[in-house]
Symmetry: C2
Amino acid sequence: MHIVRRTLHDEVAGQLRALIISGELAPGEKVPEAALAERFGVSRTPMREALKVLAFENFVKLLPNKGAIVTRLTREEIDELFPIMGALEGLAGELACRNLKLKDLVHIKRLHEAMIQCYERDDWPGYAKHNRAIHEQIFQSAGNASLSQLFEQLMLRIRSVRFTARSSPEGWLEAIKDHEEMIRALEARDGSALARTLKQHLRHKADVVERALREMERGIED
Amino acid sequence: MHIVRRTLHDEVAGQLRALIISGELAPGEKVPEAALAERFGVSRTPMREALKVLAFENFVKLLPNKGAIVTRLTREEIDELFPIMGALEGLAGELACRNLKLKDLVHIKRLHEAMIQCYERDDWPGYAKHNRAIHEQIFQSAGNASLSQLFEQLMLRIRSVRFTARSSPEGWLEAIKDHEEMIRALEARDGSALARTLKQHLRHKADVVERALREMERGIED
DNA sequence: AGACAGCCTCTTCCATGCAACGAAGACCTT
DNA sequence: AAGGTCTTCGTTGCATGGAAGAGGCTGTCT
């Protein structure tokens, strides 16, 4: 992204998204356009345009004549989204196996090893970073830009809950095992095995998130 | 959808989408906001808001300070989209196999038979209608609203080319065979077989579309 | 006291106005 | 005559104003 954003609504959309993802704007909360416009130092027009976009991205819900509220992610929706992401990442895996360059494989293996080291050092942020890098590389190697974009879009939708969900120790170990299976499948260029593993990996992640969510719900209980 | 749309921008967005899908606004063409706003009898504001949404839906591209142009679907993009839709419909098939009610299976089989009859009568519109209904029913039975919505969204993006692409006789026959395999897999509740068949079906469709597109390009050649 | 109606205020929604960026044409220069 | 530059027009982008809907408040009636 070496192109600076010059349109205000686009910029505002990005800021708003960040606000929502960070949780500063809580789910269910109203999004007053005037107040936020003033906060960003822009008029209400680009703000409204940004809201339309965020509505399509499912970050906010637009109630006609009643303004926008931050969408509250239900457990049902999460349960729906994870299989979708599993299918998409599975596809990415299959494609990646077909196109994978040796260079990329080496790169992934290096990332994997770095990630393992983070795991052993109990360095969660580092782990998460490398984890993310590996998955990104798989999509990269898949060579399907639309697929990457779509996945990214869905990722954003659940990012808020993903942040809150820290793996349990067992869950973490499970994730590591998944990753080792992935590496094996990649080396063997076994697309369907990789797809299977990735789907399973996503299912595990879904379990983690769901458990975290359940606890949150128990805590808040609205 | 028994809720009438009351917001102008939403209405305008729908109209614009229709205009683009129908081809009245040709790919690559500029979308003058003032002229279209006048045509719809609204001011430029809701028009602009609609354009932002359509931009996110990939119907138009927004060039800052230069307005919007209708996105031209490249062959590369189509080649990217079909595998994605294949993966999603495959997932739908797997889920549907798990949840399928007998009633729904009967319904699908009835649709299938009606479709076959249309085929034998060489009734393409009828065939297409029933075809669509079957696929919709599969998504319905999958019971994953987000999945249906996402698929629908992608479907819209390629609808323009799908309209233009009429199957060749062989392609049509191939599609029929795919459908019969689908029915068998559904009856056997064999999720992975159904998924495989659906993916294959999508690949076949992709071939048809690609061939049509190739011919179009040869014809126009810009 | 509770409930309904009417009013008032706040917010959203759409229209219009003004500034700025882009593109095309005319003019000047070489 | 050709190329470049300046100007001008058209369009986009953002701000603001006016109208209408929504929710709350108060006052009155039952």
